[in-house]
Protein backbone atom coordinates (compact mmCIF):
# COMPACT_ATOMS: atom_id res chain seq x y z
CA UNK A 1 0.00 0.00 0.00
CA UNK A 2 1.48 3.26 -1.20
CA UNK A 3 1.40 4.94 2.20
CA UNK A 4 2.25 2.07 4.53
CA UNK A 5 5.51 2.80 6.38
CA UNK A 6 6.14 -0.91 6.98
CA UNK A 7 5.83 -1.68 3.27
CA UNK A 8 8.01 1.35 2.55
CA UNK A 9 10.86 -0.41 4.36
CA UNK A 10 10.69 -3.26 1.86
CA UNK A 11 10.36 -0.91 -1.12
CA UNK A 12 13.43 1.03 0.07
CA UNK A 13 15.51 -2.15 0.21
CA UNK A 14 14.24 -3.29 -3.22
CA UNK A 15 15.25 0.08 -4.66
CA UNK A 16 18.58 0.34 -2.81
CA UNK A 17 19.63 -3.10 -4.04
CA UNK A 18 18.31 -2.55 -7.55
CA UNK A 19 16.07 -5.64 -7.37
CA UNK A 20 13.60 -6.01 -10.24
CA UNK A 21 10.15 -6.19 -8.72
CA UNK A 22 6.47 -5.58 -9.32
CA UNK A 23 4.09 -4.01 -6.85
CA UNK A 24 0.52 -5.04 -6.16
CA UNK A 25 -1.22 -2.56 -3.90
CA UNK A 26 -3.77 -3.88 -1.44
CA UNK A 27 -6.73 -1.82 -0.24
CA UNK A 28 -6.23 -2.19 3.49
CA UNK A 29 -9.71 -0.82 4.22
CA UNK A 30 -11.31 -3.40 1.92
CA UNK A 31 -9.00 -6.40 1.67
CA UNK A 32 -9.50 -8.96 -1.09
CA UNK A 33 -10.28 -12.41 0.34
CA UNK A 34 -7.42 -13.98 -1.60
CA UNK A 35 -4.91 -11.78 0.23
CA UNK A 36 -5.26 -13.87 3.40
CA UNK A 37 -3.77 -16.77 1.45
CA UNK A 38 -0.64 -14.63 1.01
CA UNK A 39 -0.50 -13.63 4.67
CA UNK A 40 -2.85 -15.14 7.26
CA UNK A 41 -2.55 -11.87 9.21
CA UNK A 42 -3.74 -9.93 6.15
CA UNK A 43 -0.98 -7.34 6.53
CA UNK A 44 1.42 -5.75 4.08
CA UNK A 45 4.19 -6.02 3.09
CA UNK A 46 4.35 -9.55 1.71
CA UNK A 47 6.95 -10.76 -0.77
CA UNK A 48 6.11 -13.50 -3.26
CA UNK A 49 8.65 -15.01 -5.62
CA UNK A 50 8.38 -17.19 -8.71
CA UNK A 51 8.71 -20.31 -6.57
CA UNK A 52 5.53 -19.30 -4.74
CA UNK A 53 7.43 -18.63 -1.51
CA UNK A 54 5.79 -16.00 0.69
CA UNK A 55 7.64 -13.86 3.21
CA UNK A 56 5.95 -11.37 5.55
CA UNK A 57 6.79 -9.13 8.52
CA UNK A 58 8.60 -6.09 7.13
CA UNK A 59 11.94 -6.58 8.92
CA UNK A 60 12.02 -10.23 7.87
CA UNK A 61 11.33 -9.30 4.21
CA UNK A 62 14.18 -6.78 4.27
CA UNK A 63 16.66 -9.25 5.69
CA UNK A 64 15.53 -11.91 3.21
CA UNK A 65 16.12 -9.56 0.27
CA UNK A 66 19.58 -8.65 1.55
CA UNK A 67 20.54 -12.33 1.92
CA UNK A 68 18.97 -13.60 -1.28
CA UNK A 69 20.05 -10.95 -3.75
CA UNK A 70 23.57 -9.97 -4.83
CA UNK A 71 24.97 -6.47 -4.88
CA UNK A 72 25.54 -4.10 -2.02
CA UNK A 73 24.97 -5.75 1.36
CA UNK A 74 22.84 -3.57 3.60
CA UNK A 75 23.50 -5.60 6.73
CA UNK A 76 27.13 -5.82 7.89
CA UNK A 77 29.02 -9.11 7.67
CA UNK A 78 30.57 -8.65 11.08
CA UNK A 79 28.39 -10.52 13.60
CA UNK A 80 28.77 -7.86 16.29
CA UNK A 81 27.99 -4.95 13.95
CA UNK A 82 24.95 -6.87 12.71
CA UNK A 83 23.82 -7.46 16.29
CA UNK A 84 24.29 -3.72 16.99
CA UNK A 85 21.94 -2.84 14.12
CA UNK A 86 19.34 -5.19 15.58
CA UNK A 87 19.76 -3.69 19.06
CA UNK A 88 19.19 -0.20 17.60
CA UNK A 89 16.09 -1.58 15.86
CA UNK A 90 14.79 -2.66 19.29
CA UNK A 91 15.48 0.84 20.66
CA UNK A 92 13.31 2.25 17.86
CA UNK A 93 10.47 -0.22 18.46
CA UNK A 94 8.12 2.08 20.39
CA UNK A 95 8.18 4.86 17.76
CA UNK A 96 5.73 3.44 15.16
CA UNK A 97 2.87 2.97 17.64
CA UNK A 98 3.51 6.40 19.20
CA UNK A 99 3.38 8.08 15.80
CA UNK A 100 0.17 6.20 14.92
CA UNK A 101 -1.36 7.17 18.28
CA UNK A 102 -0.45 10.75 17.55
CA UNK A 103 -2.13 10.54 14.16
CA UNK A 104 -5.25 9.04 15.71
CA UNK A 105 -5.47 11.36 18.68
CA UNK A 106 -8.94 12.51 19.53
CA UNK A 107 -8.08 15.73 21.27
CA UNK A 108 -5.25 18.16 21.82
CA UNK A 109 -4.72 17.17 25.48
CA UNK A 110 -3.28 13.85 24.30
CA UNK A 111 -0.93 15.78 22.05
CA UNK A 112 1.58 16.89 24.68
CA UNK A 113 1.74 13.52 26.45
CA UNK A 114 2.39 11.70 23.20
CA UNK A 115 5.00 14.26 22.14
CA UNK A 116 6.79 13.80 25.45
CA UNK A 117 6.88 10.05 24.99
CA UNK A 118 8.15 10.50 21.45
CA UNK A 119 10.92 12.84 22.66
CA UNK A 120 12.00 10.16 25.12
CA UNK A 121 12.27 7.56 22.39
CA UNK A 122 14.04 9.91 19.96
CA UNK A 123 16.55 10.75 22.68
CA UNK A 124 17.55 7.10 22.80
CA UNK A 125 18.37 7.25 19.11
CA UNK A 126 20.25 10.52 19.55
CA UNK A 127 22.37 8.79 22.20
CA UNK A 128 23.32 6.07 19.71
CA UNK A 129 24.52 8.63 17.16
CA UNK A 130 26.36 10.55 19.89
CA UNK A 131 28.17 7.43 21.11
CA UNK A 132 28.98 6.16 17.63
CA UNK A 133 30.09 9.56 16.33
CA UNK A 134 28.90 8.64 12.84
CA UNK A 135 26.32 10.18 10.51
CA UNK A 136 24.25 7.03 10.11
CA UNK A 137 23.11 4.40 12.57
CA UNK A 138 25.38 1.72 11.13
CA UNK A 139 28.46 3.84 10.53
CA UNK A 140 29.47 6.52 8.05
CA UNK A 141 27.47 5.10 5.20
CA UNK A 142 23.79 4.35 5.04
CA UNK A 143 22.80 0.76 5.81
CA UNK A 144 19.84 -1.46 6.70
CA UNK A 145 18.96 0.07 10.07
CA UNK A 146 18.66 3.55 8.51
CA UNK A 147 16.16 2.30 5.92
CA UNK A 148 14.19 0.36 8.56
CA UNK A 149 13.54 3.43 10.69
CA UNK A 150 13.27 6.14 7.98
CA UNK A 151 9.55 5.92 6.97
CA UNK A 152 8.29 7.31 10.31
CA UNK A 153 10.73 10.22 10.11
CA UNK A 154 9.29 11.09 6.72
CA UNK A 155 5.91 11.45 8.42
CA UNK A 156 7.16 13.90 11.09
CA UNK A 157 6.86 16.93 8.79
CA UNK A 158 3.30 16.18 7.74
CA UNK A 159 2.24 15.46 11.32
CA UNK A 160 3.79 18.78 12.39
CA UNK A 161 6.12 16.92 14.70
CA UNK A 162 9.33 18.37 13.31
CA UNK A 163 9.90 20.20 16.57
CA UNK A 164 10.39 16.78 18.21
CA UNK A 165 13.87 16.68 16.72
CA UNK A 166 14.81 20.20 17.80
CA UNK A 167 16.50 18.76 20.88
CA UNK A 168 18.16 15.94 18.96
CA UNK A 169 20.54 17.71 16.57
CA UNK A 170 22.32 14.59 15.35
CA UNK A 171 19.00 13.01 14.48
CA UNK A 172 18.05 16.17 12.58
CA UNK A 173 21.29 15.97 10.60
CA UNK A 174 20.67 12.28 9.95
CA UNK A 175 17.21 13.11 8.54
CA UNK A 176 18.76 15.62 6.14
CA UNK A 177 21.42 13.12 5.07
CA UNK A 178 18.75 10.48 4.50
CA UNK A 179 16.84 12.76 2.13
CA UNK A 180 19.96 12.88 -0.07
CA UNK A 181 19.96 9.10 -0.53
CA UNK A 182 18.73 8.07 -4.00
CA UNK A 183 16.46 5.29 -2.73
CA UNK A 184 14.93 7.48 -0.01
CA UNK A 185 14.34 10.43 -2.32
CA UNK A 186 12.91 8.22 -5.09
CA UNK A 187 10.27 6.95 -2.67
CA UNK A 188 9.36 10.26 -1.00
CA UNK A 189 5.66 11.12 -0.98
CA UNK A 190 4.57 14.71 -1.44
CA UNK A 191 3.47 16.05 1.96
CA UNK A 192 0.08 17.20 0.67
CA UNK A 193 -0.63 13.76 -0.78
CA UNK A 194 0.31 12.13 2.53
CA UNK A 195 -1.95 14.60 4.32
CA UNK A 196 -4.80 13.74 1.96
CA UNK A 197 -4.27 10.05 2.66
CA UNK A 198 -4.26 10.60 6.44
CA UNK A 199 -7.56 12.49 6.28
CA UNK A 200 -9.33 9.77 4.33
CA UNK A 201 -7.70 6.94 6.30
CA UNK A 202 -8.86 8.43 9.62
CA UNK A 203 -12.38 8.54 8.20
CA UNK A 204 -12.02 4.83 7.30
CA UNK A 205 -12.61 5.67 3.67
CA UNK A 206 -12.05 2.78 1.23
CA UNK A 207 -10.70 5.42 -1.20
CA UNK A 208 -7.84 6.37 1.14
CA UNK A 209 -5.28 3.93 -0.27
CA UNK A 210 -5.73 5.37 -3.78
CA UNK A 211 -5.55 9.04 -2.83
CA UNK A 212 -3.66 11.07 -5.38
CA UNK A 213 -3.86 8.52 -8.18
Amino acid sequence: MRFCPFAQRTRLVLKAKGIRHEIININLKNKPEWFFKKNPFGLVPVLENSQGQLIYESAITCEYLDEEYPGKKLLPDDPYEKACQKMVFELFSKVPSLVTSFLRRQNEEDCYGLKEELWKELNKLEEVLTNKKTTFFGGNSLSMIDYLIWPWFEWLEVLELNDCVDHTPKLKLWMAAMREDPAVSALLTEPKVLRGFFNLYLQNSPEACDYGL
Binding site: I60, Y64, E67, K86, M87
Partner: protein, 209 residues
Protein backbone atom coordinates in the same frame (compact mmCIF):
# COMPACT_ATOMS: atom_id res chain seq x y z
CA UNK B 1 26.17 -27.44 34.86
CA UNK B 2 28.05 -24.22 34.19
CA UNK B 3 25.21 -22.16 35.55
CA UNK B 4 24.90 -23.77 38.99
CA UNK B 5 26.25 -20.74 40.84
CA UNK B 6 24.65 -18.28 43.25
CA UNK B 7 23.04 -15.19 41.76
CA UNK B 8 24.93 -11.94 42.30
CA UNK B 9 22.99 -9.14 43.97
CA UNK B 10 23.45 -5.63 45.35
CA UNK B 11 26.77 -4.99 47.02
CA UNK B 12 28.67 -7.59 45.02
CA UNK B 13 31.83 -6.66 43.20
CA UNK B 14 31.66 -6.41 39.41
CA UNK B 15 33.26 -9.35 37.64
CA UNK B 16 36.56 -8.77 35.87
CA UNK B 17 37.03 -8.67 32.11
CA UNK B 18 36.16 -11.74 30.09
CA UNK B 19 39.27 -13.77 29.32
CA UNK B 20 40.13 -14.39 25.68
CA UNK B 21 38.71 -17.56 24.24
CA UNK B 22 35.66 -17.36 26.47
CA UNK B 23 32.30 -15.63 26.22
CA UNK B 24 30.26 -14.66 29.25
CA UNK B 25 26.48 -14.80 29.59
CA UNK B 26 24.66 -12.91 32.32
CA UNK B 27 21.74 -15.16 33.12
CA UNK B 28 19.29 -16.53 35.68
CA UNK B 29 18.78 -20.26 36.08
CA UNK B 30 15.01 -20.21 35.55
CA UNK B 31 14.61 -17.50 32.94
CA UNK B 32 13.32 -18.90 29.61
CA UNK B 33 14.89 -16.05 27.59
CA UNK B 34 18.33 -16.68 29.04
CA UNK B 35 17.66 -20.40 28.60
CA UNK B 36 17.51 -19.80 24.84
CA UNK B 37 21.01 -18.37 24.84
CA UNK B 38 22.39 -21.17 27.03
CA UNK B 39 20.86 -23.72 24.66
CA UNK B 40 22.65 -22.17 21.69
CA UNK B 41 25.96 -21.92 23.60
CA UNK B 42 25.71 -25.61 24.44
CA UNK B 43 24.47 -26.74 21.02
CA UNK B 44 27.40 -25.04 19.33
CA UNK B 45 29.94 -26.18 21.91
CA UNK B 46 30.98 -22.59 22.69
CA UNK B 47 33.26 -22.21 25.71
CA UNK B 48 31.47 -19.88 28.07
CA UNK B 49 31.02 -18.81 31.66
CA UNK B 50 27.71 -17.99 33.30
CA UNK B 51 27.13 -15.23 35.82
CA UNK B 52 23.70 -15.42 37.42
CA UNK B 53 22.03 -12.17 38.35
CA UNK B 54 19.58 -11.74 41.21
CA UNK B 55 16.70 -10.16 39.29
CA UNK B 56 14.93 -8.98 42.45
CA UNK B 57 18.06 -7.38 43.89
CA UNK B 58 20.22 -6.38 40.95
CA UNK B 59 23.84 -5.40 41.47
CA UNK B 60 24.47 -1.72 40.72
CA UNK B 61 27.26 -2.63 38.29
CA UNK B 62 24.87 -4.70 36.19
CA UNK B 63 23.29 -1.56 34.72
CA UNK B 64 26.60 -0.95 32.92
CA UNK B 65 25.96 -4.22 31.09
CA UNK B 66 22.29 -3.53 30.26
CA UNK B 67 20.56 -0.14 30.62
CA UNK B 68 17.49 -1.73 32.22
CA UNK B 69 19.28 -4.60 33.94
CA UNK B 70 17.68 -7.29 31.78
CA UNK B 71 19.03 -10.72 30.94
CA UNK B 72 20.41 -12.40 28.97
CA UNK B 73 23.42 -10.32 28.01
CA UNK B 74 26.52 -11.66 26.26
CA UNK B 75 29.92 -10.12 26.95
CA UNK B 76 33.04 -11.10 25.06
CA UNK B 77 36.75 -10.47 25.65
CA UNK B 78 36.56 -7.34 23.44
CA UNK B 79 34.05 -5.90 25.97
CA UNK B 80 31.29 -6.04 23.33
CA UNK B 81 27.83 -6.44 24.84
CA UNK B 82 24.92 -8.07 23.05
CA UNK B 83 21.41 -8.21 24.47
CA UNK B 84 17.86 -9.33 23.57
CA UNK B 85 17.80 -13.14 23.61
CA UNK B 86 17.05 -13.58 19.91
CA UNK B 87 19.79 -11.14 18.86
CA UNK B 88 22.25 -12.90 21.21
CA UNK B 89 21.39 -16.31 19.74
CA UNK B 90 21.82 -15.09 16.18
CA UNK B 91 25.12 -13.41 17.10
CA UNK B 92 26.45 -16.70 18.49
CA UNK B 93 25.39 -18.58 15.36
CA UNK B 94 27.11 -15.98 13.15
CA UNK B 95 30.25 -15.46 15.22
CA UNK B 96 31.17 -19.04 16.06
CA UNK B 97 32.16 -21.87 13.74
CA UNK B 98 30.75 -25.35 13.73
CA UNK B 99 27.19 -26.43 13.24
CA UNK B 100 24.96 -23.60 11.96
CA UNK B 101 21.64 -23.49 13.78
CA UNK B 102 19.88 -21.16 11.37
CA UNK B 103 19.49 -22.65 7.89
CA UNK B 104 21.67 -21.38 5.03
CA UNK B 105 18.79 -20.81 2.64
CA UNK B 106 17.45 -17.24 2.93
CA UNK B 107 13.83 -18.35 2.55
CA UNK B 108 14.20 -21.04 5.22
CA UNK B 109 15.80 -18.47 7.52
CA UNK B 110 12.89 -16.12 6.88
CA UNK B 111 10.43 -18.95 7.66
CA UNK B 112 12.00 -19.54 11.05
CA UNK B 113 11.77 -15.82 11.85
CA UNK B 114 8.11 -15.74 10.76
CA UNK B 115 7.38 -18.68 13.10
CA UNK B 116 8.96 -16.79 15.96
CA UNK B 117 6.64 -13.83 15.25
CA UNK B 118 3.69 -16.24 15.49
CA UNK B 119 4.94 -17.35 18.89
CA UNK B 120 5.14 -13.75 20.11
CA UNK B 121 1.68 -13.06 18.73
CA UNK B 122 0.36 -15.90 20.89
CA UNK B 123 2.10 -14.55 23.96
CA UNK B 124 1.14 -10.98 23.17
CA UNK B 125 -2.34 -11.66 21.87
CA UNK B 126 -3.90 -11.35 25.24
CA UNK B 127 -5.42 -8.17 26.43
CA UNK B 128 -7.99 -10.05 28.52
CA UNK B 129 -7.54 -12.73 31.19
CA UNK B 130 -8.43 -15.55 28.82
CA UNK B 131 -7.43 -15.79 25.17
CA UNK B 132 -11.04 -15.43 24.04
CA UNK B 133 -12.14 -12.69 26.43
CA UNK B 134 -13.13 -12.48 30.07
CA UNK B 135 -14.44 -16.01 30.25
CA UNK B 136 -12.78 -19.28 29.45
CA UNK B 137 -13.58 -20.52 25.97
CA UNK B 138 -12.46 -22.94 23.30
CA UNK B 139 -9.06 -21.39 22.54
CA UNK B 140 -8.07 -21.59 26.22
CA UNK B 141 -8.90 -25.30 26.33
CA UNK B 142 -7.06 -25.84 23.07
CA UNK B 143 -3.86 -24.23 24.42
CA UNK B 144 -4.05 -25.54 27.96
CA UNK B 145 -2.63 -29.10 27.66
CA UNK B 146 0.78 -27.81 26.56
CA UNK B 147 0.93 -25.15 29.22
CA UNK B 148 -0.20 -27.56 31.92
CA UNK B 149 2.72 -29.80 31.09
CA UNK B 150 5.14 -26.87 31.21
CA UNK B 151 3.55 -25.85 34.46
CA UNK B 152 4.16 -29.30 35.93
CA UNK B 153 7.86 -28.60 35.63
CA UNK B 154 7.25 -25.33 37.47
CA UNK B 155 9.13 -23.33 34.90
CA UNK B 156 6.29 -22.21 32.70
CA UNK B 157 7.24 -18.60 33.09
CA UNK B 158 9.85 -16.25 34.34
CA UNK B 159 9.42 -13.69 37.10
CA UNK B 160 8.85 -10.57 35.06
CA UNK B 161 8.59 -11.44 31.42
CA UNK B 162 5.17 -12.95 30.95
CA UNK B 163 2.82 -11.76 33.68
CA UNK B 164 -0.19 -12.21 31.39
CA UNK B 165 0.63 -15.87 30.90
CA UNK B 166 1.15 -16.34 34.62
CA UNK B 167 -2.27 -14.80 35.33
CA UNK B 168 -3.81 -16.97 32.64
CA UNK B 169 -2.31 -20.16 34.12
CA UNK B 170 -3.62 -19.22 37.57
CA UNK B 171 -7.05 -18.40 36.17
CA UNK B 172 -7.16 -21.66 34.23
CA UNK B 173 -6.40 -23.68 37.35
CA UNK B 174 -9.53 -22.17 38.93
CA UNK B 175 -11.71 -23.53 36.14
CA UNK B 176 -13.63 -26.61 37.38
CA UNK B 177 -13.07 -28.50 34.16
CA UNK B 178 -9.34 -27.86 34.09
CA UNK B 179 -9.15 -28.75 37.79
CA UNK B 180 -11.02 -31.99 37.35
CA UNK B 181 -8.53 -33.16 34.73
CA UNK B 182 -5.34 -31.74 36.21
CA UNK B 183 -2.41 -34.13 35.97
CA UNK B 184 -0.70 -35.01 39.23
CA UNK B 185 2.87 -33.84 38.94
CA UNK B 186 4.48 -37.00 40.37
CA UNK B 187 2.38 -39.29 38.25
CA UNK B 188 3.21 -37.33 35.13
CA UNK B 189 6.93 -37.35 35.90
CA UNK B 190 6.73 -41.07 36.63
CA UNK B 191 5.04 -41.62 33.28
CA UNK B 192 7.68 -39.60 31.43
CA UNK B 193 10.45 -41.50 33.11
CA UNK B 194 9.11 -44.87 31.95
CA UNK B 195 8.09 -43.49 28.56
CA UNK B 196 11.62 -42.37 27.75
CA UNK B 197 12.85 -45.81 28.65
CA UNK B 198 10.39 -47.21 26.10
CA UNK B 199 8.73 -49.13 28.90
CA UNK B 200 5.28 -50.36 27.76
CA UNK B 201 4.00 -50.05 31.33
CA UNK B 202 4.47 -46.30 31.11
CA UNK B 203 0.87 -45.74 30.04
CA UNK B 204 -0.53 -47.38 33.15
CA UNK B 205 1.75 -45.63 35.59
CA UNK B 206 -0.10 -44.44 38.66
CA UNK B 207 -3.18 -46.61 38.16
CA UNK B 208 -4.25 -48.28 41.34
CA UNK B 209 -6.48 -50.91 39.79
Amino acid sequence: MEDATRALGKGTLPPGPVPEGLIRVYSMRFCPYAHRTRLVLRAKGIRHEVININLRNKPEWYYTKHPFGQIPVLENSKCQLIYESVIACEYLDDAYPGRKLYPYDPYERARQKMLLELFYKILGYQNTIFFGGDCISMIDYLFWPWFERLDVYGIADCLNHTPALRLWTAAMKQDPTVCALLIDKNIFLGFLNLYFQNNPDAFDYGLTC
